[in-house]
């Protein structure tokens, strides 16, 4: 029993944090918004140099062969930087799904994905939309018992603009009976389930990073902003709002980390653990978005101030890969089942 991360994982996190601190600045994010795009091929190439796209791709396919016990830390950094790249779909959800489908599809696409040469977008039952379908090279679309691998060019894509310009949603016109398909994986219900679970986990990790950043920005701003002759951060009304955010964040974090462990080790309850993580991180982030705005006051309400880059991420990631309400219902069903094992000692037990 050891809840600490490996040194290597922590070191990788630090590297990515430094990298994004330089490369994915608020100016970068705004520049992407201004051109009406989120994905930046140049930045993606540099992420590929760090091995990010192939994080979870087996070494045999050119990836780093790591698991969620490392990637969860990096997704926290993606959230902290409000990185507008399709990392959840391609890196966290798509690559493992291809790995699990295996065969020729995996052999063809995993090396390209790991090399940063292919972007994968994914569908799942928690949303009618597919993010970043327009910049993807391959779509993985679960229908009933099968996962269909389709080229975006063979589908009709309809842009569905979201409140978060970093989130590029599309309705995908796809007819299993008519649309040409690159491949079809039959009997892939479990793979499709895991795809959603993995996407939720990555979204939860990004939510942690976004929350942390909003708290940081708010503590900084309120430490500088003076009213009534002192920094507003010295007023309890401001302090206590941010303290509450910090409590929520620090009690969401271990839930997300445990979920990462469960996914990495194929724990039979991983879907439950990820639902708990998504709820905890989503609640922390939306709670914090509101308080961060409140303590910023009017300045936080402007387009110019950077705070809303993270507020929008908080709102849209709460939506992504299943809203809190959906995940909470998973938890409700689980704990109310006749044979649920609850209580002291049950936390780390297999089902």
């Amino acid at each position: 029993m050891d809840f600490t991360f490996d040194e290597d994982a922590l070191l990788f996190q630090e590297t990515v944090r430094d990298f994004l601190g330089n490369e994915c600045t608020p100016e970068h994010v705004r520049a992407r918004w201004d051109v009406g795009a989120a994905h930046d091929p140049a930045l993606w190439n540099r992420l590929a140099e760090l091995g990010i796209p192939g994080l979870l791709v087996p070494e045999a396919h050119g990836g780093l062969g790591l698991d969620e016990r490392t990637s969860v830390l990096l997704f926290e950094e993606f959230g902290r930087a409000a990185l507008p790249e399709p990392v959840i779909a391609t890196v966290a959800a798509g690559a493992p799904a291809l790995r699990e489908i295996g065969g020729a599809l995996a052999d063809e696409w995993l090396p390209k994905l790991a090399a940063g040469e292919a972007i994968v977008a994914v569908g799942h039952e928690a949303s009618p939309f597919v993010s970043d379908a327009d910049v993807a090279d391959l779509l993985l679309l679960p229908v009933d018992d099968a996962i269909h691998a389709v080229r975006p060019a063979d589908c009709e894509l309809v842009f569905e603009p979201s409140n978060d310009p970093s989130r590029r949603l599309f309705s995908v016109g796809f007819d299993p009976g008519a649309t040409p398909r690159a491949a079809v994986a039959e009997g892939a219900r479990a793979v499709a389930g895991d795809l959603l679970v993995r996407g939720s986990l990555a979204a939860a990790a990004e939510l942690l990073g976004a929350t942390d950043r909003m708290i940081e920005l708010s503590a900084e701003y309120t430490g500088q902003r003076h009213q009534f002759g002192k920094p507003i951060g010295s007023f309890q009304a401001v302090k206590h709002q941010l303290a509450d955010c910090k409590v929520k964040l620090e009690y969401a974090r271990p839930v997300v980390h445990r979920a990462a462990h469960s996914v990495a080790t194929a724990h039979p309850d991983r879907a439950l653990h990820v639902s708990m993580a998504k709820v905890a991180a989503g609640d922390a982030a939306t709670f914090t978005a509101r308080r961060a705005l409140q303590v910023h006051g009017a300045i936080g309400y402007t387009w110019e101030q950077d705070l809303h880059l993270w507020m929008r991420r908080a709102w849209s990631l709460e939506q992504a890969y299943g809203k809190s309400a959906r995940h909470r219902q998973n938890v409700e069903s689980w704990i109310l089942a006749e044979d649920a094992r609850l209580g002291p000692g049950a936390t780390f037990r297999a089902a």
Binding site: E160, Q227, A298, E304, K323
Partner: protein
């Protein structure tokens, strides 16, 4: 206590309803935070004025209808019931208008009120400065009185910010420091400023939805005739406190607005109940009850005012109540909309999302503007509960 409308009140309602049904645009106007929308709203305000419905509680002499506050409540109910446009002229109707009636000279009343009523002149607020937000007494923009060949003027320098309607308005009202030696609340004056005067630069500020809800206004030796001083020189704080009371209190946030939102929320829930988590039902009911409570409290206050009562620090209770209610109603609506809650209305799949997202973003500003809710809580504790400063 008799909570039934009189026959006269029913007739007044019927008259308002009939006019509104005939005149309210069938399609929503574009947002008044765009130039086009601003003018469209202004055109509708002119129609309201022509119909005699622009300034319902104002005296007839200034372009109003001379109705009492209860009739005003009834009018507002009909206005929101009809889904009529937001009042681009609200700074005039609800804030500056009553302030001028209380503090203005006869000349000022005659000069400003009728044009305000007719929406010939639309007003921006100029309360805040970069270092005077919650701390409204920390105003640094100066107005120096100069009597020279051009007459008796104030020469204004400094900066205002978060001027609502500032991007397209014609005039701005605000406080300026007329006594350079003064500190805090003293030595401030309330001045009415034409935004087209030389030396004034308006820079629109985009709010969270990317629209120009407010503006920064820069003053560089801008000259304003001294007769545009409202109230006494150096006593601007008293004038402003009256205006702020109007803002927090009764006039600006009429209950009908929240009742309409609450009714739409119930409707939205009814349409989407099958997909909602079971707990949403009671949250919807709770919001509806709070909108009713706000209505009842307003009727109670109006009855008290009509009986000769005054409104004071209770306005701070209002501010907290409506701003939190409004935010929660919109939050809940987005929750009900589920995955479609984040779509912009122009998204092809956004059928039925209405304007809840934009409303949410607007509602988020409620606990901030017109004095943050933190400031209001201080006021309640100190002035209503007698707690120590």
């Amino acid at each position: 206590m008799d909570l039934r409308y009189t026959a006269e009140q029913d007739a007044f309602r019927a008259e308002a309803r009939a006019w509104l049904e005939a005149n309210v645009p069938k399609e929503p106007l574009p947002s008044f935070d765009t130039k086009e929308g601003f003018e469209a709203h202004r055109a509708f305000e002119k129609e309201l004025h022509a119909g005699g419905w622009a300034m319902v509680p104002w005296p007839v002499a200034y372009g109003g209808r001379g109705a009492n506050l209860l009739e005003w409540l009834i009018f507002e109910e009909e206005y929101y019931r009809a889904g009529a446009p937001g009042r681009v002229n609200q700074n005039g109707i609800f804030l500056l208008g009553p302030t001028i009636m209380e503090f203005g000279t006869d000349e000022q009343k005659a000069r400003f009120l009728p044009k305000m009523a007719a929406s010939e002149e639309v007003w921006a607020q100029g309360w805040s400065e970069p270092n005077a937000g919650s701390d409204m007494a920390n105003i640094q923009a100066t107005a120096v009185r100069v009597r020279d060949g051009d007459g008796d003027h104030y020469v204004i320098n400094g900066q205002k910010t978060w001027a609502s309607r500032g991007a397209y308005a014609h005039w701005l009202f605000g406080m300026f420091r007329t006594d350079p030696e003064s500190e805090r609340h003293r030595g401030l004056s309330f001045i009415l400023v034409p935004l087209d005067a030389p030396g004034i630069t308006v820079r629109p500020i985009e709010k969270l939805n990317g629209k120009a809800a407010f503006a920064e206004v820069f003053f560089d030796d801008a000259r304003v005739p001294a007769e545009h001083l409202l109230g006494c020189e150096g006593k601007g704080w008293n004038v402003a406190m009256a205006t702020a009371g109007f803002e927090r209190g009764l006039m600006l946030r009429s209950p009908a607005r929240f009742q309409r939102t609450a009714a739409r929320l119930v409707e939205l829930y009814r349409r989407n109940e099958a997909e909602c988590a079971p707990g949403l039902r009671e949250r919807v009911a709770d919001c509806w009850m709070r909108a009713e409570a706000y209505t009842l409290e307003t009727y109670r206050t109006v009855s008290r005012l009509l009986a000769g009562g005054k409104i004071g620090a209770e306005a701070s209770l209002n501010k907290i109540f409506w701003s939190e209610l409004d935010m929660e109603m919109h939050e809940l609506a987005l929750e009900i909309l589920g995955v479609r809650g984040e779509l912009l209305p122009r998204a092809p799949s956004a059928t039925g999302v209405e304007d809840w997202l934009d409303g949410y973003i607007f509602a988020l500003s409620g606990p901030i503007y017109a004095g943050t809710n933190e400031i209001q809580r201080n006021v309640i504790a100190e002035r209503l509960l007698g707690m120590p400063r």
